[in-house]
Subunit: 312 residues, 2 copies
């Protein structure tokens, strides 16, 4: 087993790592994405990064890329990305293959995250595993019978745009009541703004431009408004746990991403809401945990997916 390049293209920064076939990280770095310069320019800068490290880490034989957006991992085709303006309808895998002179696998970043957690993190040893990533966006990755489930067009796992509250708040996707519109970072801030209008007795009322992080910090200091905002968020997350358990009956659901940093302030109420919605005790066997690998999960997962594809 050689070395694999693992890349996680984010809206601002691109994480790059060198990963062994065992999944162990040898090197872990990041470079600016500069999405506006286009994918060719990013490919060139990744090539330069690889060249710079090739003496110390020779023998990289393939590369795995994680990228936010609707994309088909089988063909490496990106339909559209919310975080990378102008990147749409692109044969992205081929483009990076030319830049790097390496075989490339490209996959939705949350799918990579889920696969990384499945292989090296919280999901080790499971067969049916779901990872939900909470942040500005809300996404999911699904492992079924030990393999990443991609669906028939490669775009499975978009749990953020499943409707949990029909007629609920508007979502960035144009719909209403989607999970993302209920538990994404913007929804948490909106909920706090409404709560503060009712009850200004909060650390948060002094803050000009509120963020989800402010709300987590206030909750950690015992702020009642922040705690209730996160608890309400958690209750919707718990309903989603119940939905996923009713559909998939998985062994484990792991929650990853920035909002997961609010930890038990969200996860506690989420677990309670899940139990209220579970129809039968057998469904409560599912383990619901916080993911383990942080923001390294995606590039590890991408690298391991690339290794497996090219080992065939």
């Amino acid at each position: 087993m050689g070395r694999i390049l693992g890349v996680d293209i984010g809206g601002t920064n691109t994480k790059i790592g060198i990963v062994k076939g065992s999944g162990e990280i040898e090197l872990d770095d990041q470079i600016p994405t500069r999405a506006a310069e286009g994918p060719e320019a990013l490919g060139t800068r990744i090539r330069e990064w690889v060249d710079e490290h090739s003496k110390d880490y020779p023998g990289i034989d393939s590369a795995g890329f994680g990228c936010a957006g609707l994309l088909d991992g089988a063909s490496g085709y990106l339909y559209v990305s919310p975080n990378l303006p102008g990147w749409r309808d692109l044969a992205l895998a081929g483009l990076f293959e030319r830049a790097l002179s390496l075989p490339v696998v490209i996959e939705n970043d949350v799918n990579c995250h889920a696969y990384g957690e499945y292989r090296m993190g919280a999901g080790r040893g499971t067969q049916n595993f779901i990872c939900i990533a909470l942040g500005t966006g809300v996404g999911g990755g699904i492992i079924i019978n030990g393999e990443l489930y991609r669906g028939s067009s490669g775009v499975a796992g978009e749990v953020g745009h499943t409707v949990v509250k029909a007629g609920g708040p508007p979502c960035s996707c144009g719909g209403n009541g989607c999970l993302e519109a209920l538990i994404g970072a913007a929804a948490i801030v909106d909920r706090a703004v409404i709560a503060l209008a009712r009850n200004g007795d909060s650390i948060l009322s002094g803050i000009d431009t509120l963020t989800a992080k402010d709300i987590s910090h206030a909750a950690a200091r015992g702020d009642a408004v922040a705690l209730e905002v996160l608890a309400e968020t958690g209750r919707f997350l718990g309903i989603e746990f119940s939905n996923l358990v009713h559909i998939f009956d998985p062994e484990m659901i792991a929650v990853a991403g920035g909002v997961a940093g609010a930890g038990e302030f969200i996860m506690g109420p989420a677990r309670e809401a899940f139990k209220e919605h579970a129809t039968h005790p057998v469904q409560e066997r599912v383990r619901i945990v916080v993911a383990e690998l942080g923001n390294k999960a995606s590039f590890i997962g991408a690298a391991l997916l690339a290794m497996e594809r090219h080992a065939l």
Copy 2:
């Protein structure tokens, strides 16, 4: 390939068929279930049925059973059934094996239905296929990569108890806003009762104890209240299509069951609501159809699942 016995245990009647390994039906019959007499008594009566037909149809070498309820197909264990009072926590496969002296596979009836449609009906030729059964209850069966997906405890596919409208109407499961509470037969009747209180100018206002069938018939005669009731039902079904497409990205969703008899009065609005909620044109590639095999799908699917298990 020999003959397989296919059985679909319903709350009132049990359908029995003799199926060839090719999936073709050779004989198709039904007997009363009499659930209150218990599963041993039903097993004895099925044994009598088999004995009666053994001269004309010799060589039955296994049996597949579909049964409503939470059950684990791998072990043949029934946790609980909504339609069969008193049937709970039973090693049902072993019980029927003793009654019939045949190897038995038992599986949730909607899983059997989905598998029958996948192999012999609407889903032929697909790899990722979902079948939703609408009736008093609402259930689902999921085919992934050409195989029935059962989940880690065997209870996957319970789409009827996924929450689509948090805080919505109460459900038989104890939750609120589940799909079943929005589009099950009782929900359709409740919706009509509310609509009639607002607008009595309808064929339906003369009917004492309204049923979902009455509403379908009135819609077929152009009754505006009935049409709107079914359209609203369809819009929730369309939201569920969107949820399942966002999660699974399947090639096809088929809708089966009694309520599907309302046909385009429900399916038309459902398809429109689905398109409104699909985030990207690639998701609209999914084919959304009415199932083809009617109430024969479950015993065919059960028989084919039994054949495959015992051919291994």
